[in-house]
């Protein structure tokens, strides 16, 4: 483990990746690997696919580091956003497979999962603090705002599709989702989490 003083900034690490230094990639992984894996796991629901997603995210950064632009947000949120996009795509691709899982298969999967749970919860001050802040921000939303936001996040569904499924008009769904994101920004801004998102701060 590196000393706190020796820790390189995200920008330095990203520059290292651009310069083809794989130790920089390793350090970025150490910093954000658990976050990326957790985002993927929450969306795809199984560890094997979550690993696939995390691997794709970090190797995509390695192979095309110029796709990350510092002005557009922090490396951490960018990686988490990339993990989310890839995970949603995996869910779509795998759906046909999951629909064929029969009851026996389902029970086998549950048994297998339970034996997985010995995996420790990651200890990272940055992540735990951020997680708390986001949880607090979500708690400030109205139930309908939270519903619109999380259905979109976990479902990978268009606003139109959510409108059809919930039988709530499209305009209302969009308004709720936008209001939820705006509220999230305000609360996170107040709790200084938007250090992670410098663009948002400079705009307000």
């Amino acid at each position: 483990m590196r000393d706190r003083v020796q820790e390189r900034s995200d920008d330095e690490l990203h520059a290292g990746v651009v310069a083809r230094d794989d130790s920089s990639l390793a350090e970025i992984y150490d910093r954000y690997g658990a976050a990326v894996f957790s985002v993927a796991l929450r969306v795809v629901g199984d560890r094997d696919h979550a690993q696939d997603v995390a691997q794709e995210v970090f190797l995509a950064l390695w192979r095309a580091p110029q796709n990350y632009v510092r002005e557009r947000g922090t490396l951490g949120t960018w990686l988490m956003s990339a993990a989310h996009h890839r995970a949603v795509d995996v869910v779509r691709r795998e759906e046909a497979v999951h629909r064929r899982v029969d009851r026996a298969g389902r029970e086998a999967i549950i048994a297998e999962r339970e034996s997985d749970q010995a995996e420790p919860v990651h200890e990272s001050a940055w992540l735990n603090w951020q997680s708390r802040a986001v949880r607090a921000a979500l708690a400030e939303l109205t139930p309908t705002q939270r519903e619109a936001l999380l259905l979109a996040y976990y479902g990978g569904l268009t606003q139109q599709e959510i409108s059809e499924q919930t039988k709530v008009p499209l305009g209302t769904i969009k308004t709720r989702t936008r209001a939820a994101l705006a509220k999230l920004r305000d609360v996170l801004d107040a709790s200084a989490v938007t250090d992670l998102s410098p663009r948002l701060r400079s705009q307000s």
């Binding site: 794989d22 990639l25 690997g33 976050a35 894996f37 957790s38 796991l41 929450r42 969306v43 795809v44 629901g45 690993q51 696939d52 995390a54 691997q55 794709e56 190797l59 995509a60 796709n67 557009r72 947000g73 922090t74 949120t77 960018w78 988490m80 956003s81 990339a82 989310h84 996009h85 890839r86 869910v91 779509r92 691709r93 046909a96 629909r99 389902r106 999967i109 549950i110 999962r113 919860v121 990651h122 951020q130 997680s131 802040a133 986001v134 949880r135 979500l138 939270r146 936001l149 259905l151 479902g155 569904l157 268009t158 599709e161 919930t166 969009k174 936008r178 994101l181 999230l184 920004r185």
Partner: protein, 292 residues
């Protein structure tokens, strides 16, 4: 220069930006957005702002440590040593193949932060997406309700014939119900003496209880109600009523209105009660089963 066509284009992009940042745009349709976003600072900033907020949503919840082998696999792959990670899914489109697309940085789609990992799925039929929307929605709504992140409204408003099955078989549902110590699952089998057949599955959490009806007849909601009971043993003569619920025709799952009583054991039963009241003891037992 801003002409009317681009004004409309800005509006369209910003109007559809929510779909873009929530990964709801089909990979095949991304190039239309990317072309505009590559040229337009205003729209790109708007999309980036939303996108980084969406990235932060992922921070909610427990952070799970990935297996140690993942780090080694990523670094080996990065320096050109292709190794097969234990447990990697052969059907899940291997990362090495997918990532060829990311090397092709000249292509607008792959340069986009919204690009899909591979090119194969771009041919995905639109039809299959339509078919999967209802099932994915239902699964997600049910899981979010089950883990207490949202209310039951969305799950209850959407009732589709295939959604019960889809919800219980989705990977997200699997994940939610496999969290240790938080959820009790009991499969309830018929007790009519005709042998064993599943009538329902009960999912019980602190945040709520749900019954997925496998073979439970719709009740007449004007004159009867189902009650979920907890029993210390199969022969317990003093079961505890945990809550009541209705099964509507074509319903997939029923939210149980809790009585507030705590379970008295690992056995659970369902009875049908006349008069829509929760009695002290079950009137007509429908099924029973032990928690898994």
């Amino acid at each position: 220069m801003t002409n009317d066509v681009t004004m409309m284009e800005h509006q369209r992009i910003q109007d559809e930006a929510l779909d873009l940042v929530f990964a709801a745009v089909e990979p095949a349709d991304l190039s239309a957005y990317d072309a505009h976003l590559a040229e337009c600072d205003q729209c790109r900033e708007y999309v980036d702002e939303l996108s980084s907020l969406v990235g932060l949503i992922g921070a909610v919840g427990d952070v799970q440590a990935p297996p140690p082998s993942l780090r080694a696999a990523i670094l080996a792959e990065a320096v050109g040593l292709s190794v097969s990670r234990p447990g990697a899914q052969p059907s899940g489109a291997p990362a090495s193949r997918n990532l060829l697309a990311d090397e092709d940085v000249d292509s607008p789609a792959s340069a986009s932060p919204f690009a899909a990992p591979g090119s194969g799925e771009r041919r995905r039929a639109h039809r299959s997406r339509l078919a999967s929307v209802a099932t994915r929605f239902m699964a997600v709504a049910a899981v979010l309700a089950l883990i207490g992140l949202v209310g039951w409204g969305a799950a209850m408003r959407s009732q589709r014939d295939d959604a019960r099955q889809a919800a219980s078989q989705s990977s997200q549902f699997q994940d939610a119900i496999s969290r240790p110590g938080q959820l009790t699952v009991a499969e309830i089998d018929a007790v009519d003496g005709s042998g064993t057949s599943r009538v329902a599955t009960a999912y019980m959490r602190d945040s709520g209880m749900m019954v997925v009806a496998d073979d439970l007849e719709a009740n007449d909601t004007s004159s009867s109600i189902y009650v979920l009971w907890s029993l210390a043993s199969p022969t317990d003569r003093a079961p505890v009523a945990l809550g009541s619920f209705d099964v509507a025709k074509g319903d997939l799952m029923s939210f149980v209105a809790a009585t507030g009583a705590a379970p008295s054991g690992r056995w659970f039963a369902i009875s049908e009660e006349p008069g829509r009241r929760v009695p002290a003891t079950p009137t007509k037992m429908v099924g029973a089963g032990e928690a898994a």
